[in-house]
Amino acid sequence: MTYQTKQGLRGLLAACAIAVAATMPLKAQAEATYNLALLSDFSGPYADIMPILAGGREAVFIWWNETRGKELGVTLNYKNYETRYDAAQVASLWPGIKSELDPIAVVGLGGPDVAALSERLPEDKIPMFMATASYGFAWKPNSWIFNPRPTYSHESAGFLNWMREQRGGDGPLKVAILASEASPAYVDMAKGLELYAEEHPEEIDLVEVIYTEVQPTDLTGQMRRVVRAGAEALIIQTNTSIVVAAKRGLQANGSNIPIMMSSHNGLPASGGALGGLDQLEGDFEAYGMAIAADEGTPARQFYETLVADYGLKAPWNVVTAMGVSQGLFVATVIDHAIAANGAEGLTGEMVREALFAKTITTEETHGFLPSLTFTPEAPFPLEGLKVNVGTVKDGKITIEAIGVDVPDVHKW
C-alpha cells in the first residue's frame, strides 16, 4: 500500500468517525457535569448524625445520576466539606470551595452555614439548599438559601395546636421551652415560639423558657420549675444531650411531661443516648417531613430502593430521611432547571429561578416532603405548610399524625 493510499484510508476513517459522531443521539453530545458543594459536620456537635445524613443525600445523587441524569445527559458531581458546624469555618472555607468546585448549588447543613453565607451567596449567585427547618433570622425576601421546611417555630406551633386539639377543652396549652444560647439558631427557635405564644394567648400559655448549656450538668432544678408551672408539653429543638438531661430531670421529679423533639435530635437519636426508645414512651417528634416509622409509606419504599440498588447503608430513621429529603429537594430543583434551560450551561442563578418557577410536588420527592411552592418573599414556602408527628408506642416509633396544618407565624 502506497503512502498516498494509507493517507487516503486514514482520511476516510476520520471522516467516518466524524459522521458517526454527528449522528449519535443528542444526549451523548450534551453530557454535562455540575458540581454540588456539600457542607458537613463530621467532627462537631452533629458528628453523631452526620455519617447517616450524608449517606442519605449522597445516595439520592447516585440514584439521580443513574436514572434522571442518564436520561438528561447530566451528572451531578459532589464533594463534602468539613465545617465542624462553625460559622467561622464555613466563612473561611467558602472562597476555596468556590474556586475549586464552582458549584451550581450548595447543600447546607444548619444555622452556621446560613449565618456565614447569607450575604455571600447572592453576590456569587449560588443557591444553598438545606435539610432543616428555617430560622427567623434568615426569613428575608430574595434569599439565596432555601429550606424545604418552615421555621422551627412554625413546626413547634403546628405541633402544639395539634396537641391542644387532642387534649380538648378551651384553655390554652401550658408549654415550656428548653433552649440554649450556644447557637443563634437555638435562640431563634425559642424566640419565634415565644412571639407566637404572645400573639395567641388563647392557644399557648408559655410557662417557662429555660436556657442551658449544650451538655448540661444537671437539670433537676429547672425541670422542677417546669413541673411546678403545670407544663403540658416541653419543647426541645436543640440537641440530644439536652433531651437526655431534661428527661433525667423530669424522671427525678416523678414527671412524664411529653417532650417534643425536632428531626436532628429526634426520637431515635435521643432514645439511643438514653439507652433505649422505651425511655421516650409517649414523647413526640414533629417536623415538616416524612416520619421514619415502620409503615409502608412511599418514602419508605424509596428508601428501600436506595438501599437495594444504590448502596445506601444508613438505617431507616429520621436522620436518613432528612438526608434523602434534602437530596431529593436539590435534585428536583436541578431537574426543573434543566427542563427550563436545557442541560448545557446551567448556572446557580438558573437553579434558583427554577425553584420559584414550578412547584415541587410531593410525588417528586417520593412523599418525603409535602408539595412546596416557593416565592421570593421567604426562604421557605409560606402556604400549604404541614408537619407530621411521630411518637413512641410500645418501644417503637409510630406515626401519630400526618399533614397537621402549620399556623401563620409572624416574623420575629
Binding site: F42, S43, V209, E213, Q215, T240, R248
Partner: protein, 294 residues
Amino acid sequence: MVYFINDIITGALIGLLYSLVAMGFVVIYRASKVFNFAQGELVIIGGFIVWFTTMQAGLSLWLSIPISLVLAGLVGYAIERIFLTKLIGESVFSMVMVTVGLLILLRGLVLLVFGPAVRPFPIIFPLKPLFLGDMLIPMNLLMGGIITIVAAVGLSWFFNRTRSGLRMTAVAEDHVVASSMGISVKGSIAFAWVLGAILSTIGAMIFLSGKSLTFLASDIGFAALPVALFAGLESIGGLILAGIIIGIAQSLTTNYLDPLIGGSLGSVVPYIIMLAILLIRPTGLFGWRTIERV
C-alpha cells in the same frame, strides 16, 4: 422558701462537681506550674474508659470503676511520659502550649477511636433523688459533693503535710533547684498527671451518671476553670469554698434571674465572678502571693 434553700443546696453541689474537675487543674499546677488546658479532655477520656469497661466489656460497676481509675492513671502517666518529660527544665510556656496541643489531639483521638455517636453513660449513682421534705437532691451530685470534700481534705493533707507533697511543691517552684536537691522532677510531674487523670475520671462518673456521653462533655473543663482561678491555682482546700460560691451564684441566677431576663446569665455568672475576683486579687482567693527580693 423551701425551693430557695433547695436551689442553694443543688447549686452548692454542682459547684462541688466543678471543684472536683478543677482539682485536676490544681494538682497538675502545684506539681509543675503548668496550667493544663486539656483538663476537660481528660474528663472525656475518663468517661469513655468507664463507658468501655461497663457498657462494652460488660463488667460490673464494682469491677469497672477501679479498673477505669487504674486505666485513667495509666493514660495520665503515658501523656506525661510522651509529651512532657522532655520539656522538664524548659520554659513553663512551652509546657502550657503542649497542653493546648493535647486538647486538640485528645479530642481528635476520642473521635477517631470511639466515633461521634452520643452514647448512654452507665448509671453509677441512683437516678432517684433524695427527698428531704419538699426538697429534692440529685443523688449523683450529693455523692459527688461528699467525694469532692473527701478528696480535697486528703489532697490538702498530702500536699501540705507529707514529704512527697512538699517535694512536688518544690518541683513546681523550680525544676532545676528541685533536681539539685535530689528531688525526682520527672516522678513528681508524672504522679501529678496520674492524679489529675484519676480525678477527672471520678468527675466524669459524677457528671455523666445516667446521662449521655459525647466529646462535647469536655466543656465541663471550661466550667471548672472559673472555680480554679477564683480559688487560686495552688489551693486545693480553697476550691471547695470557691466551688460552692460559684455554684450557688449560678443556681440562683439560673432559677431567679434568667426567667426574668429571658436568657442564660447563669452560664456567664461564674466568669463574671472570676474576673471580679481576679481584678481585686490576681492570685485568686487562696492563691499564693510570691514576694521576690531583688
